[in-house]
C-alpha cells in the first residue's frame, strides 16, 4: 500500500438521486388498482385438498377455528357497557352481502365512490389531546385529558363544529377494544391504542412532580393524540357510533377489563390467532399472489423497523459517551489555556474549550429530542404492523370457515345419498333441508371471504399511504433539525476563527 502525502479530501458536494428500494416508504407502486380488484378475486378460489382421512382433517379443522373460539370471546367481552352496540358491521360493510354475485362490479365501484367521499370527510376532522390533569390521590388517582374535536359542519357527523370532553386512559383502551371487536374480523386495520405502563403511571400517581414523570405524561398525551388522529382519519371508523360517543358525550361508562384491550393484549390475541392458523391442517392455498407478496412485505417491514429501533438506541448511547469525552477535553483545554504564557494563544485555547463545550451540548440535546420522536413513531408502527398481521390472519380464518362449511356440505350430500337407499323418509327430508341450509352457508362463506379480501386490499393501500406520509414528515423534521444544528456549529466556529487568527 503506497501512499503519498496529498490531500485526499475532494469536495464531495454531489448528491445522487436516492434509489427506490423495498424500504420504509416506497413510491406507491404496491398493490393493484381498485378496478382490477374484482376481476382478480374471481380467481381467488383457494383449492381444496381432499385427503383420504377426510374425517380426521375435518374434525380438527373445526376444533381450531370455529366461531366460538376463545380468541373471539376476548374481543367480544369488553365488560358491561349500558350502550351495548350490536356486533354487526355498519351498513357500508353490509351492502356487499346483500348484493348478488353478478352485481359485484356495480357494488364494488359504488364502494369506491363511497370510499372517496369518506376519505375526504375523514381528513377534514381533527382531534387534539391536551391539558393533562391529575384526578384524585394515591393509587386510585388517574390522569384526565381534554379531547377536542374539530369537524366541518358539512361532514354531518357531530352536533357542533368544535367541542371538548374529558377522558382518561382506560377510556381510550375501551374505545379501541370496541372498535377492534367490531371491525377487525371484517378486515379493517384498527389503529392500536398506546401501551399501558405500570411504572410510568405509578410515579404519576404517587405524585412526584419530577421531570421524568412529566416526560411520561407528555409522551402519553402525544401518543393518545396520534392514536385518535389515526382512528378518525379512517373513513369507516369515523362513522362508528362508539367513536362518536367517545368524542362527543360528556359522560362515558367506564371501560373495565382493559387488560385484554391494551396494545399488549391485542398482540397476545394476534399471536394466538397466528398459532391457530399454523395448526390448521388444511393449509390455505393462496392463489392470489398479492396477499402472499404483501405478507412478505410486512414481515420485511417489521424486521426493518425493529432494526432501526435498535440502531436508534445504540446511537443515543454513543452520543452520550462522545458528549462526555468532549466535555472532559474542553475542561482540560481550558486548563491548558490558563497555563499558556503567550497571551493571545492562551485566550484562543480558552475559546476553543468553550466552542467544544457548546458544540457538544447542542448536538446532544438535539439528538435526544429527535431520537425520542423517532423512537415513539417506530413504536407506533411496530404495533400497527401487529394489527395488519391480525387482519391477514382474520382472512385466513374466514377462508377456513368457508372450507369447513364446504366439507360439511360434502358429507351431508354423501349421507343423503346413503339415506336414499334406506327407508327413512323423515331423515331424508331432514337431510335435504340441512343441505339446502348448508348450501346457503357455503355461498355466504365464500362471499365473506371475498369481502374481507377486498377490504384488506383497500385497507393495506390506505395504510401504506399513511405510513409513507408519516415517515416522510418525521424524516423531514429530523433532517431539518440536523441542518439547524450544523448551522449552529458553523456560527460557533466562525466566531472562533478570528480568535485563532489573532494569535501572533
Amino acid at each position: 500500500m503506497a501512499a503519498t502525502a496529498r490531500d485526499p479530501m475532494a469536495n464531495h458536494s454531489d448528491f445522487q438521486e436516492v434509489e427506490n428500494a423495498e424500504d420504509l416508504f416506497p413510491e406507491l407502486t404496491g398493490g393493484p388498482r381498485e378496478e382490477a380488484d374484482s376481476s382478480g378475486e374471481r380467481s381467488n378460489g383457494p383449492k381444496l385438498d381432499f385427503d383420504d382421512d377426510a374425517d380426521d382433517l375435518f374434525a380438527e379443522a373445526t376444533e381450531e377455528v370455529s366461531l366460538d373460539s376463545p380468541e373471539r370471546d376476548v374481543l367480544l367481552s369488553d365488560g358491561p357497557s349500558p350502550a351495548i352496540t350490536p356486533v354487526t358491521p355498519p351498513t357500508s360493510v353490509l351492502t356487499p352481502r346483500l348484493a348478488h354475485a353478478h352485481d359485484d362490479m356495480f357494488t364494488h365501484s359504488s364502494f369506491d365512490e363511497l370510499e372517496e367521499e369518506e376519505s375526504s370527510e375523514a381528513s377534514a376532522v381533527a382531534v387534539s389531546v391536551s391539558d393533562p390533569e391529575k384526578v384524585g390521590e394515591g393509587m386510585n388517582a388517574y390522569m384526565a385529558y381534554k379531547v377536542t374535536t374539530k369537524a366541518p359542519p358539512s361532514s354531518a357527523l357531530f352536533r357542533l363544529p368544535e367541542f371538548s370532553v374529558r377522558r382518561r386512559f382506560s377510556d381510550f383502551l375501551g374505545l379501541h377494544g370496541k372498535l377492534a371487536s367490531k371491525y377487525m374480523h371484517a378486515g379493517y386495520i384498527v389503529p392500536p391504542a398506546p401501551e399501558k405502563s405500570i411504572v410510568g403511571m405509578t410515579k404519576v400517581k404517587v405524585g412526584k412532580e419530577d421531570p421524568s414523570s412529566n416526560e411520561f405524561v407528555e409522551k402519553r398525551r402525544l401518543a393518545l393524540e396520534r392514536y385518535l388522529m389515526r382512528t378518525v382519519q379512517h373513513p369507516v371508523l369515523l362513522k362508528d357510533p362508539d367513536l362518536v360517543q367517545f368524542l362527543e358525550s360528556s359522560e362515558l361508562p367506564r371501560a373495565i377489563n382493559t387488560q385484554a384491550l391494551s396494545g399488549a393484549g391485542l398482540l397476545r390475541m394476534v399471536n394466538k390467532a397466528a398459532d391457530a392458523v399454523n395448526k390448521m391442517t388444511i393449509k390455505m392455498n393462496e392463489s392470489d399472489a398479492w396477499f402472499e407478496e404483501k405478507q412478505q412485505h410486512f414481515e420485511n417491514l417489521d424486521a426493518q423497523l425493529r432494526k432501526v429501533h435498535a440502531s436508534v438506541e445504540s446511537l443515543v448511547c454513543h452520543r452520550k459517551e462522545l458528549s462526555q469525552n468532549t466535555a472532559q477535553f474542553a475542561k482540560s483545554a481550558a486548563m491548558l489555556g490558563n497555563s499558556e504564557d503567550h497571551t493571545a494563544l492562551s485566550r484562543a485555547l480558552s475559546q476553543l474549550a468553550e466552542v467544544e463545550e457548546k458544540m457538544e451540548q447542542q448536538y446532544q440535546q438535539q439528538a435526544n429530542a429527535d431520537f425520542f420522536l423517532l423512537a415513539e413513531l417506530l413504536g407506533d408502527y411496530v404495533r400497527l404492523l401487529a394489527a395488519v398481521k391480525g387482519v391477514f390472519e382474520q382472512r385466513v380464518k374466514a377462508w377456513q370457515k368457508w372450507q369447513d362449511t364446504q366439507l360439511l356440505l360434502q358429507r351431508k350430500r354423501e349421507a343423503e345419498v346413503k339415506l336414499h337407499f334406506s327407508n327413512k323418509p323423515d331423515k331424508l327430508q331432514q337431510a335435504k333441508d340441512d343441505i339446502k341450509e348448508l348450501e346457503g352457508k357455503v355461498q355466504q362463506g365464500e362471499r365473506d371471504f371475498e369481502h374481507i379480501s377486498r377490504v384488506i386490499r383497500r385497507e393495506v393501500s390506505r395504510f401504506e399511504k399513511e405510513r409513507v406520509k408519516d415517515f416522510k414528515i418525521l424524516v423531514t423534521n429530523y433532517l431539518e433539525a440536523l441542518a439547524l444544528t450544523q448551522q449552529q456549529l458553523i456560527k460557533y466556529w466562525e466566531a472562533f476563527l478570528p480568535e485563532a487568527k489573532a494569535i501572533s
Partner: protein, 369 residues
C-alpha cells in the same frame, strides 16, 4: 500537509521529504528523498529506503552527542501503530459470515480508509522529524544525519554497533532523575527559573489534554460505525453524512490531537535540555567543592582548577545555547498552534457547510416527491 510544525522546508540548500512509503506486514519502509546544494553530500539528489528503527537510531545518537547537550533535540517519531485497524480487520474477518455483502463492503472501505489515515500520520511525523533537523543550523550538519540521508546500504548494521557502544545508558539516566533534579536546583538565572516553572506545569497540562483529545477522537471515530443504515431510502444520505463526520473526526485528530501529542513530546525534549543544564550545574557545583577540597589539602590543585573551568564552560555554553533554543521553541510553538487552530476551524466550517448542503438537498427531494 505538515500539520504539526510550520513549513520547515524553506532552506533550499537542504530539502527533505518522504514522497512515498510501503507497508509490508507490520513494517513500514519510508523513502527518504533529499535535494541539496551542499557540497558535503555526494550527490545533489538522493533517495534511500529507511525503517522506523533507523530514525530512532539517528535520534538517539543525537541525544547522546555531548556537543548537542545545549540543544533541544527534536522528539523521535513514535512507532507506526496499526493496532486499531488491525483489530478491526480481525473483527471483519470473523463477522464476514454474518454480514450482508453490502455491509461487508462498507466495513472494508472504512477499514481501508483508517489504514490510510494511520499511514499518512506516521509518514508525516517521520517527515517532520527530518525536516526539524534539516532546518536547524547546527544539527543539519551532523555527520550521522548525513549518513542517514545518503548511505545507500541498509543501516541495521550500524544500528547494532551503536547500541553496543552506548547501551542506551544515558537515555535511562535521563528518564529517572529528571523532574527531581530540575525542580531541586537553586536557579540564579530568572529566565531559566521562569522557563522551568512554565515547562513543568505546561507539560502536565498538555499531557492531560492530549489524553483527553485522544479519547474524544477515538469515540468520534467509533461513532461513525453506527449509521442509520437500515433506513434504506436515506441510506445514501446517511452514508454521505457519515463520511463527512468521519473526515471531521480525522481532521480533528490531525489538527488538534496530533498537535497536542507532538508538542507534548517537544516539551519533553525541552525539559531534557533543562535537565542536562541542571546536571551541568550540579557538576559545576561539585567541581567547586572538589577545588575547595583540593586547596585545603594542597593536592592536585591544577587538575581541580581545570576541571572546574571545564564545568563552568560547559554550563555557560549550555545556558547560552539553551536560552536561544527555548526562545525559538516558544515562537515555534505559538506559530504551530495558530496554524493548526486556524486550519481546524476552517475545516470544521467547511464540513458543516457540506453537511448543511447535503441535508437541505435531501429535504428538498423529500418535500417535492
Amino acid at each position: 500537509m505538515r500539520s504539526v510544525s510550520v513549513d520547515l522546508n524553506h532552506d533550499a540548500s537542504l530539502l527533505i521529504d518522504i514522497p512515498d512509503a510501503l507497508c509490508e506486514r507490520d513494517k513500514v519502509k519510508f523513502t527518504v528523498h533529499t535535494k541539496t546544494t551542499l557540497t558535503a553530500f555526494q550527490k545533489p539528489e538522493i533517495s534511500v529506503p529507511r525503517q522506523h528503527e533507523d530514525f530512532i537510531w539517528l535520534h538517539d545518537t543525537l541525544v547522546e552527542t555531548e556537543d548537542y547537550a545545549g540543544l533541544i533535540i527534536p522528539p523521535a517519531p513514535p512507532k507506526p501503530d496499526f493496532e486499531s485497524p488491525r483489530e478491526k480487520m480481525h473483527k471483519l474477518g470473523e463477522g464476514e459470515a454474518t454480514m450482508t455483502k453490502e455491509e461487508y463492503t462498507k466495513m472494508k472501505q472504512e477499514l481501508e480508509a483508517e489504514y490510510l489515515a494511520v499511514f499518512k500520520k506516521t509518514v508525516q511525523v517521520h517527515e517532520v522529524f527530518l525536516q526539524r533537523l534539516s532546518s536547524h543550523p547546527i544539527l543539519s550538519k551532523d555527520r550521522n544525519f548525513q549518513i542517514f540521508l545518503e548511505y545507500d546500504q541498509d543501516l541495521s548494521v550500524r544500528r547494532k554497533n551503536a547500541k553496543e557502544m552506548f547501551g542506551g545508558f544515558f537515555k535511562n539516566m535521563v528518564k529517572s532523575a529528571d523532574e527531581v533534579l530540575i525542580s531541586g536546583i537553586k536557579e540564579v538565572d530568572d529566565f531559566f527559573e521562569q522557563e522551568k516553572t512554565f515547562l513543568l506545569d505546561y507539560y502536565s497540562k498538555i499531557k492531560d489534554s492530549t489524553a483527553k483529545a485522544e479519547k474524544m477522537t477515538r469515540t468520534h471515530k467509533m461513532f461513525i460505525l453506527f449509521p442509520f443504515r437500515h433506513m434504506e431510502k436515506l441510506s445514501d444520505l446517511f452514508e454521505k453524512l457519515r463520511k463527512v463526520e468521519g473526515r471531521v473526526a480525522s481532521d480533528q485528530e490531525l489538527k488538534l490531537t496530533e498537535l497536542l501529542r507532538y508538542y507534548m513530546r517537544d516539551i519533553q525534549a525541552a525539559k531534557d535540555l533543562l535537565y542536562r543544564r541542571a546536571r551541568a550545574l550540579v557538576d559545576y557545583e561539585n567541581s567547586n567543592k572538589a577545588l575547595d577540597k583540593a586547596r585545603l589539602k594542597s593536592k592536585d590543585i591544577p587538575q581541580a582548577e581545570e576541571h572546574q573551568q571545564q564545568c563552568l564552560q560547559k554550563f555557560d555554553k549550555l545556558s547560552e545555547s539553551g536560552k536561544k533554543e527555548l526562545t525559538s521553541f516558544k515562537g515555534r510553538r505559538v506559530v504551530a498552534f495558530r496554524k493548526n487552530l486556524v486550519e481546524m476551524a476552517e475545516l470544521e466550517i467547511k464540513h458543516a457547510k457540506n453537511n448543511v448542503a447535503l441535508l437541505q438537498g435531501c429535504i428538498e427531494l423529500l418535500k417535492n416527491n
